[in-house]
Symmetry: C2
Subunit: 151 residues, 2 copies
DNA sequence: CAGCATCCGCTAGGATACTG
DNA sequence: CAGTATCCTAGCGGATGCTG
């Protein structure tokens, strides 16, 4: 009667097997700006607005589909589905399906995902700290360039 | 014969007044996931693939337009222009035009931009560290879902 | 509730050509 | 070199409707 994960079985309450493991010996290319190194892949996941919001929300603990949709609010369920699926695919989020009557699914961060959270939070904090400066810079810029917007 | 900045005059070598100041008293909303708080604005700047790459490249010191384009390589000059303009608008990058014969422009991070660099680097590092795990997760996922891709 | 499927507009972004 | 201007397409992402 254990809830069916999209993947392998695992009791929701206990461990998620995202454990240590981590061979990480595919391509020790150290260059940060090298397009082929896979940074882009991960960054692209950060890129789309929704992923970040979902991750931040999940940082507060497991959420069900509707909870997520209401929390992020502004996201369509289509985008939520896609976002959450991609995060699951990347192993950042664990999806658990409980075979109850009206169907119930919850999402939680894996350890990998939780690690990313810290960085995302740092980014969010930085944003908060500098939003005023940036807003000011934009106004100044826009005043100097009264013509076409760049946005 | 000081080079003309896009904005106000300021000797490139000396200060940019992004100093301490930082009133930051516009909207002390602390919520990280609140869409109206401006986090999104900054995050969106991180969002598009090019900004991050350009910032990382500029972290290595001032670069000229073509240098940037060659360094990032893969970016069209259209996108480079847009990216760099947006970064300038946000006060993250300083654009300096030298009125030489074949025209010469260089871009460098402002102090604000340099601050962001650390976070971006952290993100890039994280990406490198976890790319293997993520790639593995994707393969596993894809093997389990042989049908339509999510990508 | 938790989703997949479909239609569809919008724009991010590449390719190309021209200017100062 | 350092852009600007156009054209044009892939896909992101919203709205809506249907299943289990």
């Amino acid at each position: 009667m254990s809830p069916t994960h999209t993947e392998v079985t695992a009791p929701a309450g206990a461990a998620d097997p995202t454990g240590p493991a981590a061979p990480a010996d595919l391509d020790p290319c150290g260059r940060v700006d090298h397009p082929d190194c896979g940074i882009r892949d991960v960054l692209d996941r950060i890129g789309d607005k929704w992923s970040v919001l979902v991750i931040v929300e999940l940082a507060g603990g497991p959420r069900r589909f509707r909870e997520l949709q209401r929390a992020v609010d502004g996201i369509s369920q289509r985008m939520l589905t896609l976002t959450v699926r991609r995060l699951e695919r990347d192993g950042l989020v664990l999806r658990t399906v409980y075979p109850t009557v009206p169907a119930q699914v919850d999402y939680r961060l894996t350890e990998t995902g939780a690690g990313l959270t810290h960085l995302v939070k740092a980014l969010a904090d930085w944003s908060l700290e500098h939003r005023a400066v940036i807003a000011e810079a934009r106004h100044t810029y826009d005043r100097a360039h009264t013509d076409h917007d760049i946005r």
